[in-house]
């Protein structure tokens, strides 16, 4: 007897992560380019991240073996940070001592549904997260527009 197994995609997984991390920003969009092309570009983090992510001037990844690795990021503001990263097709989570970043992508016909999450890792940030929500809207749209410019908006 074959019992049904629920589908669960990476965009939904990103929403769960957002709900579990109060104070984080989440934004979603639909990109014109197909998933394979979008993720191939994003997987080249040394090129894609400085182009698409706010405040990333340069990223130097340690040797990637498997889906976990570390990278050093130099921000446009001059700040440096060491990030632990998990990256696999359709899913990326990064964390430093102060910041969290994640993105998810799933095929949507010939296009791609894409989600982006970011937040500050400071004790108690969930308490003032609500105050930052209007700012999140602006920052989220601004970041998403970078991805839409790069991959097209569907």
């Amino acid at each position: 007897m074959t019992w049904p197994i629920a589908d669960f995609d990476e965009i939904r997984r990103l929403r769960v992560l957002h709900a579990a991390m109060p104070g984080t920003l989440i934004a979603e969009t639909r990109l014109r380019m197909p998933f394979a092309q979008v993720w191939e570009a994003l997987d080249d983090i040394g090129t894609a991240f400085p182009e698409l992510l706010p405040d990333v001037r340069r990223i130097d990844a340690d040797t990637r073996t498997g889906e976990r690795f570390t990278a050093h990021i130099l921000g446009r503001s001059g700040l440096r940070g060491r990030f632990e990263i998990v990256m696999r097709p359709g899913w990326c989570v990064m964390q430093s001592r102060l910041l969290t970043f994640a993105m998810a992508a799933v095929p949507d016909g010939e296009h791609t549904r894409f989600g982006y999450l970011t937040g500050i890792r400071i004790r108690g940030s969930h308490r003032f997260g609500g105050l930052l929500r209007p700012l999140h809207g602006v920052l989220g749209r601004r970041t998403i527009r970078r991805f839409e410019r790069r991959f097209g908006a569907a």
Binding site: P4, I5, M21
Partner: protein, 206 residues
Amino acid sequence: MVDSPDPASLSGLIQRARHGDPLALHDLLDAVTPMVRGWCGPIALEDAPDAVQETLIVVLKHLADVREPAAFAGWLRTVAVREAVRIANRAARAIPSELPDLPAPGDPSLAADVDDVLRRLSPEHRAILMLRDRDGFTEDEASATLGIPIGTVRSRLFRARRAFGSAWLGRPARREAQASREAQASREAQAGRDPQASPDSPGGHR
């Protein structure tokens, strides 16, 4: 049966994840999502992705309340089953069926895909069938998971099995009706494409 991850490794993950460590949350999602998909799928059917999402949100938001990591898997299962029933009822897509007869255990027909039959049961019936007949839970365990008395577990299971059997036995008649509808639609489509076959077309009557 849905396999549970090793309780010792879960315990360490829960400790890290409850402090909001994003990579620990990622690891915990990897560990528990397959189980939650297995519990929500048979109960919530088309709405199962919503049920999985809601279950995981509830669980991750309440990690701080997990006093005893050894009890985590049981709590996770309870949340998943109840969320799946709630969301399936909210969607109101159930087609409850209360008909007689039950196929015998081991009936080869049970090996076939059961999606269509499950869709004809209520979410509560799907839940009790999954817990008792798929996962092999005792009446006590099913009672605790669903939050209902043991007497209700017994009566609900009896009705669920009866409804399942009847829906299963009704499949040939439904297939025949479906084939008849498709044949009729095909004839109508053919008639629409072929003016000769249409009685309303100039050449339809001789």
